[in-house]
Symmetry: C2
Subunit: 218 residues, 2 copies
C-alpha cells in the first residue's frame, strides 16, 4: 500500500506526512506540491526541503491557470489580505483551489497505482473557505472515483482537530523538528509577518499546546 500526501509547505500537511510515513513507511509515500502563483511561494521551498528531510519523493506541479481564473489576495500582490471574518468569504479565498489540488493529485496517484490521498484541510479552524469543509471533501471523493472509475480514499486526519491538537500530535510522533521546514505566513516574507490571519492561527496553536515553534529556530 502506498499513499500520496499533498504538501503545502505548512504545518498541517507536514503533520499528515508524518502520519502517512508512520503507517506506510517513507519508501511508500509520495508527496506533491502546487505552484499556483501564490505570493507565499517560499512554501514550495519548504515543502521540497521537508520531503528531502523525511526521505520521500517530491513532485512540484505548476498550475499557473489558477491565478488567472479569479481575483484574490493570495495570488494578487496588489491586494491587501483581509482578516478572517466569520460572515463572508475572506479575500484570500482562491475559488476551486482544493478542488484542483485534489483532482490533480488523484490523477497523479492513479498513474502511480496509489489510491490513498492525504490532505491537511481542517474545518475546526475554518476560515470561511468552503473547500476546507468535510462535506466538500467527501463529495469530491465520490466525484473523483466516478471520474476515473477508481477507489480513491481521501484522508483528512486533521479535519476536526484544533491547531494545538495538531501540534501535540506531531510532538507525540517525535517529529516536532519537521515544523522547522514549514511556512505559514500569507505575506511570504522572512521572518513571517506575525500579524496575518495565518500567522496568528499558527502562533495560537503553539501557545495553546505549550510548545515553542521550531520555525523560529527553537
Amino acid at each position: 500500500m502506498k499513499a500520496l500526501v499533498l504538501l503545502s509547505g505548512g504545518q498541517d500537511s507536514a503533520t499528515c506526512l508524518a502520519l502517512a510515513i508512520a503507517e506506510f513507511g517513507a519508501a511508500n509515500v509520495m508527496t506533491v506540491s502546487f505552484d499556483y502563483g501564490q505570493r507565499h511561494r517560499i512554501e514550495l521551498e519548504k515543502a521540497s526541503l521537508l520531503a528531502a528531510t523525511a526521505g520521500v519523493s517530491y513532485k512540484e506541479v505548476p498550475l499557473p491557470f489558477i491565478a488567472g481564473l479569479s481575483q484574490n489576495a493570495l495570488t494578487d500582490n496588489s491586494m491587501t489580505i483581509d482578516a478572517i471574518g466569520p460572515e463572508s468569504m475572506p479575500n484570500t479565498f482562491v475559488p476551486g483551489r482544493n478542488l484542483f489540488f485534489l483532482s490533480v493529485a488523484a490523477v497523479i496517484a492513479k498513474q502511480h497505482g496509489i489510491r490513498i490521498l492525504y490532505t491537511g484541510v481542517c474545518q475546526t479552524d475554518y476560515s470561511g473557505y468552503p473547500d476546507c469543509r468535510d462535506t466538500f471533501v467527501r463529495s469530491l471523493n465520490v466525484t473523483l472515483n466516478l471520474a476515473m472509475e477508481d477507489h480513491f480514499e481521501i484522508r483528512t486526519p486533521l479535519m476536526w482537530m484544533t491547531k494545538a491538537e495538531t501540534v501535540q500530535l506531531m510532538a507525540d510522533m517525535g517529529r516536532l523538528e519537521w515544523y522547522a521546514h514549514t511556512y505559514t505566513c500569507y505575506e511570504g516574507v522572512v521572518p513571517p509577518c506575525g500579524v496575518c490571519p495565518s500567522c496568528l492561527l499558527r502562533a495560537r496553536g503553539f501557545a495553546e499546546a505549550g510548545v515553542l515553534d521550531p520555525q523560529f529556530g527553537f
Copy 2:
C-alpha cells in the same frame, strides 16, 4: 439569466450552444474552450469560429498541465489511437479531463455571475469514458456547489440522445449550418481521417438522421 457553454469544437457542444442561445439569447451566453495539448488542436479554431458565427463571447483557457499528468493517445502523438472497446477504457481517455473542464468553467462562471453551465457529454454513445456518465456529472455538480458555496446547474441536454437525434435537434432549430464550424476527428487532419472512432461515430449519426454533414461543404 446567463449561461456558459463549454465548447469543444465538436458537434455536441455546438448543439448545446444552439440550445443555450434559444433559451437565453446570444447576448447572455458565454463560451469557453480548453487547450490541453490535444493533437486535434484544430478544434479550437473551429470553436472560436463557431462562437463568432453565433455572436457569443469566447474565452480560450490554456491547461497545459493536463497533458503532463498521464500518458494517453489524445495528447501523445507517438501513440496510435485504439478503436472503441466496450471492455476496458480506450487509450484516448484523458484522466480527469471533464473534471478539470467543468471545474475551471465553474470558477469562470462564478466570476461572471453565471450559474448555468452547458456541456455536450453524452452517455448514449458512451466510449468507455467514465467522466461522460450522467452519475459523474451529477456528483460533480454537488461537489462544485460545495467547493464554492454556489448553486451551479450543469445541463447535459444530450446525455441520453443518440448522435442521430442530436443532428435532428440541430436541424429542428434551423442551425444545421453551424456544424460546418465543428470538427470531430481525433487525428487532427484536414480533411478528417474518416476512420478513427470519433469520425465513425459522427458519420453514423448523420447517416441515421438522413442528413448530409456540413463539414464536407454540403
